[in-house]
Amino acid sequence: MGYFERAMLAAIVIGAGAGFVGALVVLRRRTFFAQALTHATYPGAVAAAALGVSVPLGAAVASVVIVAIMAGIARIRRQGAQVAAGIVLTGGFAAGALLQAALPGLPVQPESLLVGSILTVTDADILLAAVVAVAAVVLVAAFGRRIAFSTFDPAGFRAAGFREWPIEVLVLGLIAASVVSSLPAVGAILAIALIAAPAAAARLVVRSYRGVLFAAPVIGAASGIVGVLASRAFAIAAGPAIALAATGCFAIALGASQLRRLPWRGRSIPVETAEEARIA
């Protein structure tokens, strides 16, 4: 298998897996969380590269530590989830930059950790992404009903006697695993596009929860293919090309859904729609 075919395979597997988990991210509104997670895996990846251990392993360990810190800060009154994510996010980047400067001669280019380098993925990277994708499908197939219930009616879910944290831990674990496995393709900065865009696009054109879970991985894989092809055709970096392809899918879906709404929407009023609605 040549490097290009390998890159295509990686793009398909990672794109599909990220798209599938991304459906959970978007439906449960964990985008900022996922974004902080993608950024904060960076110091783990740098440390792993410096220590000579597997980069995904380092990123995974870092993500566990980071999730714990974020959960702790988010629970404090007057701080909250956004503050937690912001601090962890920038702290992660600063720590990564300091590590990188303090440990010269890293075998891995830091840029590849930040914006990805799909042309140099290993078989192990692809295998990891495939395992994560399959695990995500199996877990969602097994617990899908409960995840859907707790997503759309958290109060009812608690009232029905279920505890929320196992579902939350399961979903957050899947998000972390997905982030770690997408790093080789798109890097820490751009991973959120590959995770969120396919699902957000799917949600605009597909109505059902289940439908989004099917459509998002397809869009993710397609984005991967288009991105790698564009990267070769125009001689540009592959990671950003994949992220842009995923965004393109989202833009098309957005345009389509807006067009569909037009006929009966009438004259749109340039006032504070969301706020007006509440005032009313």
């Binding site: 991210v25 800060i73 404090i76 989830a81 702290g91 400067a101 970096a237 965004t247 989202f250």
Partner: protein
């Protein structure tokens, strides 16, 4: 080489003095603006602006060299501030949509940089800043940009606080929510512009978020928030620069100055958190009122409000 040298003597060097001067102005302005970011729950929008500025920096660098950085970033940031304000008001965009679009702009920036000769070096400079190598000619523009942001916020401060506390009543009192949001997001954008060319795009967010968060931990008195945030930010900037200098001169490790400043901020936050916890000020709870209150203020950030609310 001792502690005294790092903390004081080091800043007799012209480039260190320049870095300190710029960082102090920037830190105080970011601290004040950051309090409003905290009270309005605009962390997510701020993160968005840092991403949106990146292609502006990249294109500015490609077109005009380092002198093109500031204008490029300013154009991108103000454009993004207008678009983000509009998007979040119209209710068109979810947090996911914002994250996606902004990551796309970041991708554009990386692609622009990737076509240059010194891809890795330039990318790193844009991401992690170059506070120690600010040319003297750029000091004044950076300070001016920061002060414009400060002025915009101070001018509308009481209305901004009113809107942050009770958006509906603020509207009923005749305040134009869109204008207030635009001014605040514009000020955040200007801080991002000034900070992006010093501490780098990836670290800007720390300047905006950490001082505000520290102030919220330290006090419940409205008018104390601003001096606490500004003072913390100034202290963090000074200690961070001194630490970077100490490490590179004393320890022979060449640490990026932007990263040491942000590390000082984060360590400072952790210390304040511990002190607040020891003083019994750290309480946990569902705090659903905060989430609900933010949702009501969604004119600025419906997405952010949902993130804050749902992550509990």
């Amino acid at each position: 080489m001792d502690l005294w040298d790092s903390l004081f003597t080091a800043f007799e060097l012209p480039f260190m003095a320049r870095a300190l001067g710029v960082m102090l102005v920037l830190a105080v302005v970011a601290g004040v603006v950051g309090v409003l970011v905290n009270l309005r729950g605009l962390e997510f929008i701020s993160d968005g602006l840092t991403h949106a500025v990146f292609p502006g920096l990249a294109i500015g660098l490609a077109v005009g060299g380092t002198a093109g950085l500031l204008p490029g970033a300013a154009i991108a940031a103000l454009g993004a501030a207008v678009i983000l304000t509009w998007l979040s008001r119209a209710g068109v965009a979810s947090d996911a949509a914002i994250a996606i679009v902004l990551t796309a702009t970041f991708s554009v920036g990386v692609i622009v940089v990737s076509r240059s000769d010194d891809y890795a070096g330039q990318l790193e400079a844009l991401l992690f800043g170059r506070v120690l190598t600010i040319p003297p000619a750029e000091v004044v523009p950076l300070v001016v940009v920061s002060l414009v942001a400060l002025g915009a916020v101070l001018l509308t401060l009481k209305q901004q606080l009113f809107r942050a506390f009770d958006a509906r009543a603020s509207r009923a009192a005749g305040d134009r929510g869109f204008v207030l949001d635009l001014v605040l997001n514009g000020a955040v954008a200007l801080v991002v512009v000034a900070a992006a060319s010093t501490v780098g795009t990836l670290l800007v967010l720390a300047l905006l978020i950490v001082p505000g968060a520290v102030a919220r931990l330290a006090t419940d008195r409205l008018w104390l928030l601003f001096p606490v945030a500004g003072g913390f930010a100034a202290l963090g900037a000074w200690l961070g620069l001194a630490a970077g200098y100490g490490a590179s001169v004393g320890g022979g490790v060449d640490l990026p100055a932007g990263a040491t400043v942000v590390a000082a901020f984060v360590v400072g936050y952790a210390l304040v958190l511990v002190v607040a916890w020891a003083a019994g000020r750290v309480t946990t709870g569902r705090s659903s009122g905060r989430a609900a209150g933010r949702a009501d203020r969604a004119g600025a950030a419906p997405a952010a409000a949902r993130t804050a609310g749902s992550a509990r």
